[in-house]
Amino acid sequence: MEFFLVTTLNSLSYGLLLFMLSSGLTLIFSMMGVLNFAHASFYMLGAYFAYQTSTYLGFWPALVIAPLAVAFLGALTERYGLRTVHRYGHVAELLFTFGLAYIIEEFVHLLWGRAPVEYKIPEILDFSAFSIFSTQYPAYRVFMMLMSVGMLACLYLVLTRTRIGLIIQASLTHPEMVEALGHNVPSVFMTVFAGGAALAGLAGVIGGNAFVTEPGMAASVGTIVFVVVVFGGMGSLAGAFIASLIIGAVQTFSVAFDYSLATLLTGLGVQLNTESAWYELWKVTIAQAAPVLPYILMVLMLIVRPKGLMGTREG
């Protein structure tokens, strides 16, 4: 019970963090029609910018400055990169974001080195918020959840209640018509891209110290975020939300289970020993298979329902 509650909370905070990344990615996908391979790189930049800023000014200014800096880079990327490349078609855009991801990674190597940096949880949040039976639950995890929920509530309100939100919603599906009504659609696209980058940056700020800030973080989170977006359905925010929580739970729970198929088979009365056929496969525990589980889920989803959980268009 204790294990279950703690793991549920952990998976929730991780799932919400994934959604901060996947929501931006899926909005940008609806808009451009291609996946932004550099999206997780903005997440990494958020973490590194926050680390750098916090060494001078502390965590709280970093919480504001880092996402803004990432948003600014996002705006530049759209305005001077993607908008120029756009006329050469989707493949060119895809390759552009792919190349950008590598450039950002090398840039991080150059500036901060290959080893993880010491980006720490702020002391004021480094205590236990409450205890579940014998486990002390860290306050920073609670702070992460509150930040994510607050940010996503803001995103939702902006998209549904404000004029710019309505313009964004309409532009995602009918950009030509929106422009013919006198709205500056190119600048709307830049705003969406910058906003998506800012969300990724913010996820980096609050995730970088909870997990680890190192040059490989973009690649490891990036692939998971793609799984989330494909699983949830390309272009669907609701789908991305559900998929984020599911994948978050799968990843968090699976590492804690030591069961394997052998456990199951033995329980069913099958005698297994080192001489049995496929013995190595039966002995693989769920925890050992944890890294591959999200991808298995994605492949299954693509077989059963190619457009994803709530996707409306073909990827």
């Binding site: 919603q169 018509m177 422009e179 006198g182 500056n184």
Partner: protein, 231 residues
């Protein structure tokens, strides 16, 4: 008010318009007639800056060629496309709000005007626009463009596929538009409405203007009707 000269347009490598010329005066209703595929829709899209083009489009004394569509819209040109590009997930009211260029109602039309002209829009104000019938979507598209207070509105086949009762409502709206001093450039295939409400008509064939005159001129000219209009 609108003066189009030697307009050439291209979709990729195919050359669609071959030197179109036409003009629309203040408060005038002008129809652009012709069979499917002769370039009528392309003409108004080119004027709106949505198609790669060359030539000259002067509106209220300003050259529009080379400007972005949203700048052209802000100068007072409106377009109502044939495919009824409503925003399906937004409500009827939100669709109308996005027709406005600023936050506040300004100019000749208010939301209340639209609801009075088409009571159906008031009834469905909070429903997603995507669930409305084709006729209702057509009204919404027209009203949405009018909310932007254009001085000239280009309308592509507004009565295509509509029930006769709704066609009458749309015709009433045209009267109302003209009464408020707004010019209309109407793209039509059917002669009946176009000849009834227009002051002048153009006929297009193969990406060029092949006839211009009054509705009476066209009625009298059986040759043009046979060659370029009748199916």
């Amino acid at each position: 008010m609108l003066e189009v000269k030697d307009l050439h347009s291209y979709y990729g490598k195919s050359h669609i318009l071959h030197g179109v010329h036409l003009n629309v005066r203040q408060g005038e209703i002008v129809s652009l007639l012709g069979r499917n595929g002769v370039g009528r829709s392309t003409t108004i899209k080119a004027i709106m800056g949505q198609v790669q083009s060359s030539g000259s489009v002067v509106f209220k004394g300003q050259e529009l060629m080379g400007q972005k569509a949203y700048m052209i819209a802000r100068k007072g040109l409106g377009i109502v496309p044939e495919n009824r590009d409503i925003f399906p997930s937004l409500t009827v009211r939100q669709n109308l709000l996005l027709g406005m260029k600023g936050r506040k109602e300004s100019g000749r039309w208010s939301m209340e005007d639209m609801y009075n002209l088409f009571p159906r829009l008031r009834e469905r104000a909070e429903a997603p626009a995507g669930v409305m019938s084709g006729g209702e979507q057509q009204m919404l598209t027209l009203c949405r463009t009018l909310m932007g207070d254009p001085d000239l509105v280009m309308i592509d086949e507004p009565t295509e596929g509509l029930a006769p009762k709704i066609v009458d409502q749309v015709a009433n709206l045209f009267d109302e538009i003209a009464k408020r001093g707004i010019s209309i450039l109407l793209v039509e295939q059917k002669l009946t409405i176009a000849l009834r409400i227009s002051q002048r008509v153009y006929v297009m064939g193969h990406g060029q203007i092949v006839f211009e005159g009054t509705p009476d001129d066209l009625r009298a000219n059986e040759g043009v009707r046979k060659e370029w209009l009748e199916v």
